[in-house]
């Protein structure tokens, strides 16, 4: 659709602005997007469970998660609704640590959350230092509306893949679309290739 020019629109360009994925703009706020109410999750009932493709279950209680070696990644995050936020600081456990005790030949992961949300991604996208179960944000407990007590972080994909209120990961031999992935959003969601919607 070359040729459309929006008369009178100048835009605010900042030559010093860092490079963002296509179609994104920078925000300093931390907008919230959720499909439903923020679930109440008492920490003494909190569990995180990895289920392998044979049905084997590997579960962590809250204190067991905190006792694992943690990392403090500083991450750029990109929301499919077009905002990006740079340099966010988190603390949590690498999925490499959690998966190290899980023998699996699965190729896909379906991530589940308290409240019923789910999202899917290739298992490889959770490995090699690319993903965390995070429980602190900017030095504080993660607020409920931002996914606390614990959320997945997979910052190289659009942020809806970083499931809030995470409760488990199902390892699967096939790909199974999650919540937004059946609602018109892209199955993979690479912001640098602008894979926002189905068909992108």
């Amino acid at each position: 659709m070359a040729g459309v020019v929006t008369r009178g629109f100048k835009g605010r360009r900042d030559p010093s602005a860092p490079k963002l994925p296509p179609g994104q703009y920078l925000t300093r706020d931390f907008p919230v997007l959720s499909a439903g109410p923020t679930p109440e999750i008492p920490l003494d009932q909190w569990r995180f469970t990895i289920t392998d493709e044979t049905g084997g279950r590997h579960a962590w209680r809250w204190q067991e998660l905190l006792d694992l070696p943690s990392e403090q990644p500083t991450l750029d995050i990109h929301c499919v609704t077009k905002w990006s936020k740079l340099g966010t600081r988190w603390e949590g456990v690498s999925l490499d640590t959690l998966l190290s005790s899980v023998g699996t030949s699965a190729t896909h992961a379906l991530v589940h959350s308290y409240g019923g949300y789910s999202t899917n991604l290739p298992l490889a996208d959770l490995r090699d230092g690319k993903a965390w179960i995070a429980y602190r944000y900017e030095g504080e407990d993660i607020p409920g509306e931002h996914g606390g007590p614990a959320r997945l972080l997979v910052p190289h994909l659009y942020f809806w893949k970083s499931a809030k209120w995470v409760c488990g990961i199902e390892l699967r031999a096939e790909d199974t679309p999650g919540f937004w992935e059946t609602m018109g959003y892209n199955n993979y969601g690479d912001p640098w290739r602008e894979q926002r919607y189905t068909g992108d």
Partner: protein, 246 residues
């Protein structure tokens, strides 16, 4: 199974309606628009003369109506795009649209259960699309709208809401003023509370669905209120506006 990607469509501004001092509705003619569901949103792309582009996502305010797409945009202080859309754009000016987007925060007329709509401020926009769609198709579905605003001069769509709710066909509209109310308003000024929700007389039956849209703190509070009153978590759909720098 790979669906076709959605294309950017040129859309021409045809008409404008002032909603408040900082907000206006823009009526676009988008040739090739495939239609949408009430509650969906759309990506908007603006291109400056030198090729610089900016994109934002906005809720659609209008029900499906051919190539017509209406957006209601509130000026964001220090925003890059909204000051142009609210203050500069003139009839005949063009943007591009890509959509519709979103399959969750939508209302379809064939869903017959009663509907509770709760809006905070500019969160009214996607809910208005649902109210208009109900009127457009003559749906008998009971709708109750609770619309929280600071003051009377911040109400969007005031005349239309008054007209539609005055028809006595099952649409109930309650304005909840949080800072100042018109003279004669019986409800004390203040934030939405349990009494406001109970007052709409849509008890948490299994077929009631609630749509809540507004700023994050508002949506958090209202969704919590609904859960506490016994509405099923899965019957509450939310959409939240952070201040998104737009």
């Amino acid at each position: 199974m790979a669906a076709q990607p959605m294309h950017w469509l040129p859309a021409k501004a045809e008409d404008f309606r002032e909603e408040t001092a900082t907000t206006r509705t823009i009526v676009f003619d988008a040739s090739g628009w495939s239609g949408h569901l009430a509650g969906q949103h759309v990506d908007v792309r603006l291109t400056a003369e030198d090729g610089y582009q900016a994109e934002r996502s906005y809720s659609i305010a209008s029900p499906p109506d051919g190539q017509r797409v209406e957006l209601t945009v509130q000026r964001v202080r220090d925003g890059e795009v909204s000051p142009y859309l609210v203050g500069e754009m003139r009839a005949g000016d063009e943007v591009e649209l890509r959509g519709p987007v979103g399959g969750w925060f939508v209302w379809r007329p064939e869903e017959s259960g009663p509907v509770l709509l709760i809006a905070g401020g500019s969160g009214i926009v996607p809910l208005m699309a649902m109210v208009r769609q109900r009127a457009r198709v003559g749906s008998p579905t009971a709708f109750a709208l609770l619309y929280s605003v600071r003051s009377p001069d911040e109400v969007f769509y005031a005349e239309e809401l008054s007209r539609l709710s005055g028809q006595g066909d099952g649409l109930n509209v309650s304005l909840l003023y949080t800072r100042s109310a018109p003279e004669g308003t019986s409800r004390p000024v203040g934030r939405i509370g349990p009494d406001d929700v109970m007052g709409v007389n849509l008890p948490p039956r299994s077929d009631v669905r609630a749509y809540v849209c507004g700023p994050t703190a508002f949506v958090e509070a209202v969704a919590g209120l609904l859960v506490a009153q016994g509405y099923d978590q899965s019957a509450i759909r939310t959409e939240r506006f952070g201040p998104t720098g737009g």
